[in-house]
Symmetry: C2
Subunit: 170 residues, 2 copies
Amino acid sequence: MSGARRSFAGIDCAVAQAIEQMGDPWILLILRCQFQGIKRFDDFQGHLQISTSVLTDRLRRLVQAGLLRKEQDQQDKRGTVYLLTEKGMDFYPVMIALHQWSERWEAREDGPRLELLDKQSREPVRTVRVLSQDYRELSAKDVLALVDDRSGEMMQDIQERLKRRRGDAA
Amino acid sequence: MSGARRSFAGIDCAVAQAIEQMGDPWILLILRCQFQGIKRFDDFQGHLQISTSVLTDRLRRLVQAGLLRKEQDQQDKRGTVYLLTEKGMDFYPVMIALHQWSERWEAREDGPRLELLDKQSREPVRTVRVLSQDYRELSAKDVLALVDDRSGEMMQDIQERLKRRRGDAA
DNA sequence: GGAAATAACTTCTTTAAACGAAGTTAAATT
DNA sequence: AATTTAACTTCGTTTAAAGAAGTTATTTCC
């Protein structure tokens, strides 16, 4: 981004918070590499063709956000390894959901690039979905997003706008 | 982004493709609004405090990418409604996974901002996870990412790098 | 043990895309 | 007919991204 890089920190919404940290192409690509087992500065660079200054910046941000931690490489003391924290590993469902969405809608004609198999059973993993307690697949229209009373004006503002439009319109 | 806006289109990887389209804060925030039922230009602007030029651009991109479609508002013929396509609706699991991840790691001290309930049962939706066929929760280390033979050099390059490092190191 | 190589950065300059503000067009309400 | 409103477009400025070159501290090679 440029102009004046906006902050979404003020928006009282979990997704906006997440986007504040993760809504950057390089951040997401670096994390994707992590899930493939890439841990070192040079390997990120070799794979992603990212400039050193940007890579440094994004790794720093990821460490600051608590998704990665820095450690000295035990094999080569010069080296540094960037390892996923629990918070970082917990991002895995988002990454896989993104991967599967992309495979569904931007698929190459000659089949999937990458198959994700459960190591234990050797079967493909399930498609990541929003599920009910009894495992029904839910779409957006099946889900009620209940705004908590304590929420800021932001969320309630939306609901009022929509109410006004539906009710008073025409 | 600036300098020279990088394209990830060349990277032969589903996630990179997805990030090419969706790895932008405004794109994600607009889509989040969509899932909340916001459909009109002014409502996006009122909610997100996004400048008109950027909003125009991002809506255009979303239409071009096939996640939204433009239609004339039936109530007010001046108006335009932006509606989710099937591809757009299919992004829902990614959004909810992101939401839940954020609630887990950036939670406010006074509880969740938004509760997601299954309309049918009124119970909370399940946490979005990567699941095996028999519904075991899988983390990254439980999943084998099998690279297809037909994949480009990119993916295989990673595997070779890692092999070399493990094998020939020390 | 000294020289060359390598890992992981910093610093610097250039560039172009993103941002915000103000202006525009066309439809609808008064 | 005049005013308001929706949905943009245009324009100038800002600023982060890219890329190249330089830096420091190990480590391997001879």
